[in-house]
Amino acid sequence: MNEKIEELFTFYALGAVTESERQQVEAYVASDAEARLRLEEMIRTTSALPYALEPKEPPAELKRTLMNRVHADAKKRFAPPPSQESGWSRFMNSFLPRLGQLFPQAVAVLSLFIALAVGAWGISMRNEVVRLQAQTALLQKEIADQRVVLAQLTSPNSQAFLISGTDHQPQAHGRFLADSETGSAVLVVSGLEQLEAGKIYEFWLIQGDNPIAAGLFEVNEEGRAVLQVSQAVTPESYDAIGVSIEPQGGSVQPTGDIVMLGGLD
């Protein structure tokens, strides 16, 4: 181990070395796998430093400009190779020369085809309108929910409580954020396993020995979920929080494995 160079690791990870120091460190770890692991561990820690800062929403115009530039570049760099003659053009090229001979029949067939297509299009448009109306209603609800969740996450009155995985899922962890003034509360969890069909996670607010059902949730591919608790919560009224696995639809009392627990002290 070259202590002189390893002393530079901390500053390398912080991005605070000179160019020649940077080269020394990189040459050293290139030939020492263990040293590289030690350095990478420090880099993992320093890479988390930006999370200490308050996120700031960029203006929408910035995203528009960037995406326009990216789309234009994507067309140039990832355009599909010029295709061979398509099936449709092959069909048209072989069909058109014979059209003169088949003109009367072709007109009749085409008229029928157009009438059917217009009818089908009308039906499909009506279905599409109904589908879009339902989708709009869902999106409006999602936006309303987002407002509540984000207000909760940014509220200065919000208290954060740790919730951790039990022996059943020790990798799980999360935060329960509750605002005593407004009564709103959000559970944010990560590291939970995806459940088999027919099962769902249920969140519990626990008073002494009495668990009170506080919402059902599923997790995404990465085992994450955000649950906005529908009832008003004052954290002082409860002793603990927990998450259990329940049959789809939930239970009145926990019946399955308790996979997460946390105190509200």
């Binding site: 000179t18 890479s47 430093l49 999370y51 200490a52 929403e57 960029p58 789309h71 984000l150 955000v226």
Partner: protein
């Protein structure tokens, strides 16, 4: 699987194949954290936005250079944003004042394109990191501030603080150890 559920690493692999939807998802996830970092370093909104745009442009153009085995996407992304911010800062010779983070709190508004679980996790990570940083003694925190957010070398930090280089080394090393332990105990996810 829907695109919202893809991991950062799955998304960047798609970006390398020219998938603009995957790219937009990464933008939605990290634009606000990236702008927060750039603003902290440059101290100037216009410069910070310029940095953010250039950072994401590089993510697009160099997505094929990202290597999963070398670390998480966020390490790579924040590394680009930080280096560009510091380059910009040096070029502009902007005098940045040390700022009180609590004064920078902004109110976020709901956005129809916002990914709430991701935003929620960003907030949780923010709280975890703030908690971890608050455990550091002020002199250790100051060394981290000067090195990471001001782009000063260890020699420059020693000169600026009037402390011997060895002391700066010790403070930085202890600070990183403490941060690592704190983040581990909180179950911080990279």
């Amino acid at each position: 699987m829907i695109i919202k559920e893809w991991s950062d690493e799955q998304l960047i692999a798609q970006v390398a194949r020219g998938d603009t939807a995957a790219y937009e998802m990464l933008y939605d996830r990290y634009a606000s954290a990236g702008l927060g970092l750039a603003l902290k370093i440059t101290g100037d909104q216009a410069l910070a936005e310029e940095v953010l745009q250039e950072t994401f442009w590089r993510v697009w153009r160099k997505a094929d250079l990202f290597q999963t085995h070398r670390g998480a996407f966020t390490s790579w992304f924040f590394g680009i944003a930080r280096n560009l911010s510091i380059d910009m800062l040096r070029r502009q010779r902007t005098q940045v004042q040390l700022s009180d983070e609590s004064e920078q709190l902004i109110e976020q508004t709901a956005d129809p394109t916002l990914d709430v679980p991701e935003t929620a996790w960003l907030r949780v990570k923010h709280q975890q990191m703030r908690t971890a940083i608050e455990t550091l003694p002020s002199e250790q925190r100051y060394v981290i501030e000067l090195a990471y957010f001001r782009g000063m070398t260890r020699q420059e930090i020693a000169q600026a603080t009037g402390e011997p280089l060895g002391t700066i080394h010790t403070r930085a090393r202890l600070a990183l150890q403490k941060l690592r332990d704190e983040l581990q105990s909180q179950g911080f996810e990279e």
